[in-house]
Amino acid sequence: MPINREYIIKRALSLVFVVLGVVVVTFIITRVIPARPELLWTGPHATIEQIERARRELHLDKPIHVQLWHYFVDLFSGNWGVSWRTKMPVLPSILSSLPATIELVVSAFILATAVGIPLGISAAIRRGSGVDSVVRIFSVVGASTPVFWLALLLQLAFCNWLGLLPAAKRVDEYIAISTGFKPLTGFYTIDSVVQGNIPVLIDVLRRMFLPAVVLSLYPMCLSARMTRALTLEVLSELHVRSSIAWGIPRSRVLYKYVLRNVIAPVVASLGLSFGYTIVGAFMVEIIFVWPGIGYYTAMSLLSYDYPAIIGSVIFVAIIYSVINTAIDILHATIDPRVEL
């Protein structure tokens, strides 16, 4: 498989520009749109002196391009402001809640693609059949379901009525503390495996199951729909028929040739799925008391903790851009036609 080093460098460079763009947009939202940005930044308990100080710290007394410059400098030197709610600096709080979110989002994301793509393919190759109808209806209904509503209902059904799964939290403190579990990396699944702590691993998986399933639904439907459409498109292309007509066995054509044609654009579209997953996490984490970035953001939203909200927004947007770049590079290794 050709890996074009030049392409990767180009892509990484353009990532820098995308991140700069993201920062500019947040600058517009936070500094240009509000009439008095310092009030949002200090919170209402602030005294006149504190507000004045914030004005100076945010460089609001300077011309706008100087403000933008300082905005960049502050962000890249890790000075993301202080939350009103917790009185703690925003960036460390976000970073400390990062592993919980990654663990959840990645599981959901894997689940979504691992189920969604095969569903889409199987629907496409039996277009018009019962399987196809079921997949189509499922993907439409799934993509139309508010993730928070589904989370509430499944929690009610599985935890309250059936009593099969734990309602919330990431790990049971009883089990964690009594087995001496130490969160080293913050990824509890990894930590428990490394420490050979089976009870914690099982507890963590049980607790992750429901939120991950809920979170995966929307991207799952999205990838199923997209895969179905793409497979239909590829199957109608001439090269499929020519390969078969030349005598390559049909199964080989499907597994080797068609599959890669479908996977390449599906991979390219995973970024959007990821975007939905991580924003869905805002709502799912608050329902399942999952102490990740989503929980932090949702809590900040409930109390209008502005620096924390904007910090989370910038952070998530940057992660999203990075993931998209990684996905583009992955796509380029599958599809030789891709050029910048």
């Binding site: 709610r85 917790t86 569903l119 939290k169 009594s178 599959l259």
Partner: protein, 553 residues
Amino acid sequence: MRKMRIFRYGISRAVLVIIIAIAVAVGVVGYYALAIREQPQTRKTMTIFASISEMTTADPSTEFSNSIRWLPLVYETLLWYDPIKNEFIPALAERYESRDDGMTWVFYIRRGAKFHDNTPVTAHAVKLSIERTIALGQGAAFIWAPVNEIEVVDDYTVVFKLKYPAPLNKIAASGYGAYIFSPKVVELAGAKNLTDPKVAEWLNRGNDAGSGPYRLIKWEPETEVVLEKWPEWWGWKLPGYPLKSDKAPDIYILKIIKDAVTQERLLLAGDIDVAQYVPLEDLEKLKGDPKVQVVIKPSFQNLLMLINTKKPPLNNVLVRRAIAHAIPYEDIVKIARSGLARIASGPIPHGMWGHFDNLTYTYDLDLAKRLLAEAGYPNGVDRPLLLVYTAGDIYEKRTAELIAVNLAKIGINVEIRPMSWEEQWALAQRGWEDPEAVQDLFLFYWWPTYITPFDFLYNMFHSESKAFNLCYYENQEFEKLIMEASVLEGYDQARALEMYYKAQQILYRDVPAVPLWDMIYVEVGSRKVGNLDKAINPAYPTAVFAQVLSIEE
């Protein structure tokens, strides 16, 4: 007729295999997830307490908010106060005396008490702690306003000299701003002195400098706070000390769980041991559940509707009175709190010293209409009134809606606006300069910093209390009465009480605010948590004194 389907079998078999593989994987994980619920041997006893709000700061001098849920476990004051029995429980002070009509107070510090850093608790530490709190001047520092000077007589005797008589025993028992901590923090934090911001930073990183029965071992203010029993605490060894139990939990965890439903679920699933907020509608069901116990205790927290007395038409006392009579107090208690509140009678809550029972407004729409007509609004008020409340508080939300429905009946339209507390308070602050630009009605909780009627009356109704007098109420006679009463409280309680009553009668007549209901606290605990009712004290709202709990295995 033959269909030429090229893509008939091949790939679907592969997809089938993938789907089956995933299904099997999910099934296996699911099986383990569901079937194996191995509960390992617990070596330590543990209590998990669900807190509805995140912790704020960890600085005992300035903290004036949610951290009261753990501060009294890690830090100690000189005294604790039991407002229901109206008696003091010795803490770091073994005993105390007041002299000169409440102008001088002497506290005798407990020998053998030490801080978690193993330095002894001394009179000097007490002086430094309180002086730091006063010097920083934040949070509840105002409680020490009467103090003129703190003198260290010897290592175990400290004397407070006051500017005017005041109940310093109650002040010293305050849930905020009265904690004693180790002066060694200066050294540990690498600070120049106690007021150096480095001390606060060190504390807010999750360090503690207390002397209480528990130590802070994990500080994640947004998700959880973990306390561990400190075996060296003097109280464990003191026979007959009321605020302790031999079976107190080894680990006490404060878990932040932001909503009542989840708290209830986790409690029923055994994931947590004490839930402070459960949906009140579910309470009857919970009472019947053998796994849990429901503890109901009166509180000193009440909800009032502050009226903007400077903005027409509310600057007319008749309009305010009409509003007071148009509020369905009984319905509000039934619907908003499922009956778990008492209809307020005056701004001082039931059960507290200074409360009087005959200050309730009647719900009488005819009277309200008459008053409104008399005020010159026979057809109702021509503009909608803005009622603000704290977003996310369902009790306030329901109360607000019920008020709006009923005021509409007498021709007053109300626009309800939920705001975050921060926004709401910021808006209301502007009212002192421009009362026309701010809200008309403000749903407002109050609970005392230390237990005195003065705390309620001064903060919400004295014109010098710009921060919380959000009725913008000014009345010389009233202010004179409560200032005098607060001084008398230190040595002549009967006369003070009489003056507090007069003051409340003025409020009843002027209606700067409508007291709505006094909250009844509900805590639901697992059955294995014994002594839960004893661990709750309305003077320290929302705190559970874990050292009193008795964990049954």
